[in-house]
């Protein structure tokens, strides 16, 4: 197992490149999801205000 993580002496290059790619992809997912939730919540709030106002 240590041998696997050692990557034939190239660990310092192999793992960071996998790590950076993974970090970027995870960051994209988090950013996308957060933005989605934020817009959904504001939209819900606005629409509920609308329906409340309608009967009057």
């Amino acid at each position: 197992m240590t041998e696997f993580f050692h990557m034939g002496g190239y660990a310092a290059f192999v793992w960071p490149s996998f790590g950076i790619t993974a970090a970027i992809m995870i960051a994209i997912v988090i950013d996308s999801w957060r933005g989605f939730v934020r817009e959904r919540d504001t939209l819900d709030k606005l629409q509920s205000q609308r329906t409340k106002r309608k009967p009057s």
Partner: protein
Amino acid sequence: MVSLHKFANPARFVRMSSALLPWMVGMSAVLITVGLYLGLFVAPPDYQQGESMRIIFVHVPSAWMSMFIYSGMAIASATGLIWKHPVADLLAKASAPVGAGFTFATLASGSLWGQPMWGTWWVWDARLTSYLILFFLYIGYMALWEAFDDPQRAGKAAAILALVGAVNVPIIKFSVDWWNTLHQPASVMKMDGPAIDSSMLVPLLIMALGFTAFYGAVVIVRTQREIMARKVRTLRMAQVQA
């Protein structure tokens, strides 16, 4: 609600893409896991580059995605300009940060690959240079979106820029290749090395498919977010006017 008909089309997009989303998420998770397993455990080390060759399994798929997403943005922009498809501009906008992220990943992993292969963190290699310029194109596209207050106008301007960029990408690629052959340093090891063996090609393709599914899933979420943002904007405007 005068602008209700505008949402007819986006509503269909939301419905269809929501149905597609779980499949995309599942596919990307499965394919990336399998690709990583094959790439890290099954594929033998390269006889020249040793284990450092494994960087290829994130570097090359990222590079493919960078180009793929830019082409997708150009196609979406053309659709938006010609047929005034309301979702197309948003799709292009939603794609740009993902493409920029993959381009950055390409540059970072390329740099980390260059250190053991070339003995330096950065080489003005034709491919790395092209991707650096592609990264600038993504940044410019996103900056132009941000520069306008009116999203309709921003979308059109960004679409024109994306098309101009798409016409230029092959020219830039060609000129950078030309430039590189003129200034080629004496001993540069080619990144792709000799012919690719199938033990490498299979995980590479699986990773690329996984990344594509990842892009699909993310772009669905981001486009829906843009659609909602536009709805919020219309509702706010209606509120102000009421």
